[in-house]
């Protein structure tokens, strides 16, 4: 203690004109996370890419729809989900892992040492971005399939039972996949690990199991996050899916419940790891 200075030379807080010296609140962390998401150009490109992928896929698949297929107009508009979900998964995974891969975690979690508000804010910001992206993707898909001449695909008709719910479902499923990516990203902390896990859970497993239908595989399929894609279907398509399965029939909202449960479990695991474990 060689040079402890008298109290009078300590920094004069009041005279520095700093208004309040208060700490992080959820709103403040939310503002910070919004700045972080919007200030990385890759995220903007990802949103645009997802919109283009959705619209392009909807247009491409729409070309093969015949009037006697039983496909509705909403099926065509939401069909882009099959590719767009990859964009949502990447968006979530990037938001979830960016802290840990870039070292930003050191800055973020020294500013907010309680940590969980950061994960909560990231979930809100990513979900909002996903919602906006989904609405843009639906709009682009609608325009792409309505304006360009598609051979025989039916036009979007909201009076078809479940058609408007399928459009809403597209947005909900997009948000769910984004949050799944975010949770996996925050849990695994590595983009490659998060993406591979997400793609296997949300896309590949369902396709593999579908190739080999049985009571067992159909039951597993109904319990995977990929069941969330059912949200994008109208009533007739859901009835057809339930009629074909040998596993449990998920009905209208069952797929949404399954993916929602996955999101909650993965985010809870991520929160546990974030709270209990070291950050580097």
């Amino acid at each position: 203690m060689t040079t402890v200075l008298p109290e009078s030379r300590a920094p004069q807080r009041a005279s520095r004109g700093a208004p309040r010296r208060t700490g992080p609140t959820l709103w403040r962390v939310l503002a910070a996370e919004r700045t972080k998401l919007t200030s990385v150009r890759a995220n903007t490109w990802l949103v645009l890419g997802t919109v283009v992928a959705a619209a392009g896929t909807a247009y491409g698949l729409g070309m093969f729809v015949r009037p006697d297929d039983g496909r509705s107009g909403s099926w065509v508009v939401t069909s882009g989900f099959v590719l767009a979900q990859l964009g949502f998964l990447v968006l979530g995974a990037l938001v979830g892992t960016a802290e840990h891969t870039t070292g930003t975690a050191r800055t973020t979690f020294t500013a907010v040492p309680r940590r969980l508000p950061v994960l909560g804010a990231q979930a809100l910001v990513a979900a909002t971005t996903a919602l906006v992206t989904a609405v843009l993707a639906l709009g682009a898909s609608y325009v792409a399939t309505a304006v360009a001449p598609l051979a025989d695909a039916p036009a979007l008709d909201l009076s078809v039972p479940g058609a408007s719910r399928a459009l809403l479902g597209f947005a909900l499923a997009s948000v769910a996949v984004t949050l799944l990516g975010l949770g996996l990203g925050a849990l695994l902390r590595r983009p490659a690990a998060a993406l591979v896990t997400g793609v296997v859970l949300a896309i590949v497993s369902d396709q593999l199991l579908a190739a080999n239908p049985s009571r067992f595989t159909d039951t597993v399929r109904s319990l995977l996050p990929s069941a969330g894609a059912r949200l994008t279907q109208d009533d007739a398509a859901l009835a057809a899916l339930d009629a074909a399965t040998r596993g449990p029939q998920l009905g209208v909202w069952g797929g949404g419940v399954v993916v929602g449960a996955w999101v909650l479990v993965v985010l809870a695991a991520a929160a546990y790891r974030l709270r209990r474990h070291d950050v580097r």
Binding site: T3, G23, R28, K36, S39, A98, T102, T104, R280
Partner: protein, 308 residues
């Protein structure tokens, strides 16, 4: 005021920090010195709550870091210049930090100006040189106008201008009554700006004392250096009076056990011509090397090493 008490941090079977106790008092620049892998960065990460101690405590103003109501206002932290998203501009990085505490944009611009980052403020951090990254890290540490600063290797990669600037900055901050804990593996750097040094090796405390005291402990301290064209008679004379003489190159003798006055008098007695006479002061480098000599643990492949 930073207080570290009996702090131990293990990763599996590796002990990074081993029962470390030290205090960084306010109004003082405390140097935190140790070879790579000694546990400096680990200690700092535990102090700011990024890692949990295996045992022991680390507190700031008597509180655990995680319990501080407004961390950025209490403690400014720069752990690693690479704590920034490479795709984000310096301004946005600092803005996001500021927003967590409701700090104004004006203050963000203020620290950008203070750290000389204005020309680069709207460039992505990925394009920054190491020195600019350091400046950005220091800007982040200053953002909340904190009473305590924890800076891990702040002069790493800075140009001479930047080194001088950091030296003056930490001196000024301490003069304002703030607590500054500054790690480095460059001993001469700390000799120039620290009041006291905490030296660690292999996670253990080796010394905690004012810089001057550490220097005086050095073996060479108290040695008289004399240059003469007649080393033989002078050596004989000095040895006869009980001093130890070690001949060096160029007619220089290092004398222990005799003062400058003794050596001068002895030279007159034996008629030796003295060309140069003075005391050798030990350097912090030497003191440091002696202290850490057996504590150096160089592990090139150790990802957890002190300075990354």
């Amino acid at each position: 005021m930073i207080e570290v008490e009996a702090l131990t941090k293990r990763y599996g079977s590796t002990t990074a920090v081993d029962g470390l106790t030290f205090t960084a008092p306010p109004g003082t620049v405390t140097g935190f010195l140790g070879p790579n892998g000694a546990g400096k960065s680990t200690t700092m990460r535990v102090v700011v709550g990024l890692e949990r101690p295996t045992s022991g405590t680390a507190t700031i103003h008597g509180r655990r870091y995680a319990d501080l109501p407004a961390p950025l206002h209490a403690v400014g932290v720069m752990l690693d210049a690479r704590s920034v998203h490479p795709g984000r501009t310096a301004y946005k990085h600092l803005l996001a930090m500021a927003q967590t505490h409701g700090i104004s944009k004006a203050r963000v611009r203020e620290v950008i100006a203070q750290t000389g980052l204005e020309p680069a403020a709207h460039r992505r951090a990925g394009t920054f040189s190491l020195g600019m990254g350091q400046r950005l890290g220091i800007a982040g540490a200053l953002l909340g106008d904190p009473a305590t600063l924890i800076l891990d290797e702040p002069v790493n990669g800075l140009d001479p201008d930047g080194v001088l600037w950091v030296r003056r900055l930490v001196r000024d901050l301490a003069a304002e009554g703030r607590t500054v804990l500054l790690s480095s593996h460059l001993m001469h750097e700390l000799a120039l700006c620290a009041d006291r040094v905490v030296i660690i090796g292999r996670g253990r405390l080796l010394a905690d004392a004012p810089v001057k005291e550490i220097v005086e402990r050095s073996e060479r301290a108290g040695t008289v250096r004399v240059r003469t064209p007649d080393p033989e008679p002078l050596t004989r004379e000095l040895v006869a009076s009980g001093a130890q003489v070690t001949p060096q190159e160029g007619g220089v003798l290092h004398v222990r056990g005799a003062s400058v006055d003794d050596v001068g008098t002895a030279a007159r007695r034996c008629g030796a011509t003295v060309l140069e006479l003075g005391t050798e002061s030990g350097s912090l480098e030497e003191a440091y090397l002696q202290l850490t000599g057996d504590a150096v643990e160089y592990r090139a492949a150790d990802a957890r090493g002190g300075a990354r």
